[in-house]
Amino acid sequence: MPELGKYAFAVLASYGAGLALLGAVVALVVWRFRRAKAALIAAEARLAARAAQGHHGQANGGRA
């Protein structure tokens, strides 16, 4: 641990807050990514299932 002297609070708080915010945005982006992917896979599966049933809506190739 480096010697921060009287500025310990400012430096530690900066790194704490900065890293927390970075972590938050990374977590948010990754969480949204996972959720969107899961929802889309489910929807494509529904689409494919209906196309297999001979429903008139044609899926233009299953994609996730």
Partner: protein, 244 residues
């Protein structure tokens, strides 16, 4: 083969899938090396003491906060002119990242300013500009969320981004005019001038800068893929409603 091929959403997702496994660790690596180096292995500044270490977060975040808006402007213009949906979605994906960088720059700046300038907040031109930038980001994100039809939302936010950029530039000069300011100028590109950046800080800062640029790119790529999938999802759901 033209660059516009990557404007095809499917191709974009495939390419992003290939780039990200390299880009994400690289970004994290640069950032980690830069921050660890900066935090543990740099000397104290003769004027600023240990608070100089805050620079390794503050400067890259501030730089990317502005550049992110610039990227959104370019992406919005591409959308407005060439109608590539991926471009509009990339602008949308960049906004929360840019907002976070702006927040980091403001928070670390306030924490640095308290011991150095003796105040958490100063109505200095740079600080004020960043506060205004924060408002622009908030308005942009709010408009995206408020408009239901995705194409309408893309058009309106694109327009807001272009008009907002002009006014952001005007604000920057207005604010400079209004208060001359305490904030020091950027020194990183001023090698050879007086009062340059100490070489002891140079390399860790470079690492942090590269790291944050790569991290921004990675987050925008991930976010854009997310937005593309949400668009496709919305289309599938619209079709289901139509058939029902």
């Amino acid at each position: 083969m033209s660059i516009w091929e990557y404007a095809n959403p499917k191709k974009f997702i495939e390419t992003a899938g290939r780039i990200l496994p390299v880009l994400l660790p690289l970004a994290m690596g640069f950032l980690l090396i830069g921050l660890v180096w900066g935090f543990f292995f740099t000397p104290e500044d003769y004027k600023q003491g240990a608070t100089v270490k805050i620079m390794f977060l503050h400067v890259p975040a501030a730089m990317m906060a502005i550049n992110a808006w610039g990227m959104m402007l370019v992406a919005s213009l591409i959308w407005i002119i060439r109608r590539h949906h991926v471009s509009a979605l990339a602008a949308r994906a960049a906004a929360p990242v840019g907002l976070t960088f702006t927040l980091i720059a403001l928070v670390t700046g306030a924490l640095w300013g308290q011991p150095m300038w003796g105040t958490w907040w100063e109505w200095d031109p740079r600080l004020t500009s960043f506060l205004i930038l924060l408002l622009f980001y908030l308005g942009y994100i709010a408009l995206w969320q408020a408009v239901e039809n995705p194409d309408t939302a893309a058009d309106l936010t694109g327009l807001l981004c272009v008009v907002g950029s002009v006014f952001a530039l005007l604000s920057r000069y207005a604010v400079k005019f209004w208060n001359q300011g305490l904030h020091q100028d950027s020194t990183i590109l001023k090698v050879g001038e007086k009062d340059p950046l100490d070489p002891a800080y140079y390399w860790p800062l470079i690492f942090c800068l590269i790291g944050i640029v790569l991290l921004f790119l990675a987050l925008v790529l991930i976010g854009t893929v997310t937005e593309i999938r949400l668009r496709r999802l919305a289309v599938i759901e619209a079709r289901e409603r139509q058939e029902a």
